[in-house]
Subunit: 233 residues, 2 copies
Amino acid sequence: MNILLASTSTLYGGNYLEYLTEELKSLFQGIDEILFIPFARPGGISHEDYTAKAAEFFLKLNIKVKGLHEFEDKTSAVNSAKGYFTGGGNTFLLVKTLHELGIMNILKYNVEGGKPYLGTSAGSVIGTLNMRTTNDMPIVYPPSFECMALVPFNLNAHYLDADLTLKHNGETRETRIKEFLTQNNSKVIGLREGNWIRKINEKITVEGPESTRIFEVGKEPYEIKSGSDISNF
Amino acid sequence: MNILLASTSTLYGGNYLEYLTEELKSLFQGIDEILFIPFARPGGISHEDYTAKAAEFFLKLNIKVKGLHEFEDKTSAVNSAKGYFTGGGNTFLLVKTLHELGIMNILKYNVEGGKPYLGTSAGSVIGTLNMRTTNDMPIVYPPSFECMALVPFNLNAHYLDADLTLKHNGETRETRIKEFLTQNNSKVIGLREGNWIRKINEKITVEGPESTRIFEVGKEPYEIKSGSDISNF
């Protein structure tokens, strides 16, 4: 497999996907067109505009971008594509749409076959075991929380350390993930913004400028360094 | 109906339920025992300890507290109770448990019949139309997101204004609720900590020290004052 799952699409003060430019040249090497999956975006920006935003970035890499919403036969469009990019937005909406269109498993089959896959935020979560560690609001009811399981763990994107100055009783991110671990037995990767997960063939690593926080049943959360191998998680 | 749906159980720096003491005397007037529903709490504290915490507070009001987990026949326990308190925790776990035990509708029937109901946080969300505006992590998959619909709107508990100083690309609470409105047509009550919703007979008001933020399709979010009537929302 050849996949990149990023915590976020855009760094604070940066442009869309810009910080990933060198990694994306490597991910999509030899590919001149990819399929963009815009279904996470619930509003504010249309599927056309969202696809145009992705296309604008990939133009610099001489890669054309087509939006999956443009195709009547979406199964065929996924099977014919040379590579994929799923953008962020609302994970519940994305997972519901992919299950209802019947393309979650078709996408999985193609990516497991070696076609390159890029996800950002919600698009990264669907590469993992399931969406049970998303931060998003459950604005729609998906027929299942299961995802592609391209990697053998759960992901918390936009992982955020607790702000101890906040006078507020909402749960911290760490508390929420610990609650997940009372009901589930998979490891959770707390991926800070700026970091990404890279899988090349069978090897999986965490990359980026920040350390990454790992949560697992029966252990205190701990940090791993950029470049760490998480293939056997 | 006679219900109180609070944003939070505990104010910053305060003790459990303390800020609601006067309101709770009025809510549970003439009642000497209530049933506590501890199922939102996924870990860290057992159902026994969580119930003991509620009992400790209600002792001051001369009200006994029994935990629903103590009863083998939970339907009968709900039907026999004189009043209810559902505590906070994880809304997904709470809603899944209530649906699986078959008591969501039994509780609704009893509360609609006039028995007093107190909810805090997740326990308040289950009093509304559905759980689609919870902040919680989807750590388990409920058979449905539908709730008791004791009030005709959605609730966002622990409502938090955007922190514009934060260098982070996770969505703000307001953005998430606006995403909800692209997929749903009900109003959303953004209930800040310290505020609560009170329903007495058919009249519903928002109460507490803060103003309350209202979200609805086709309008900019707006604020309403404490005491405002939201019966016709």
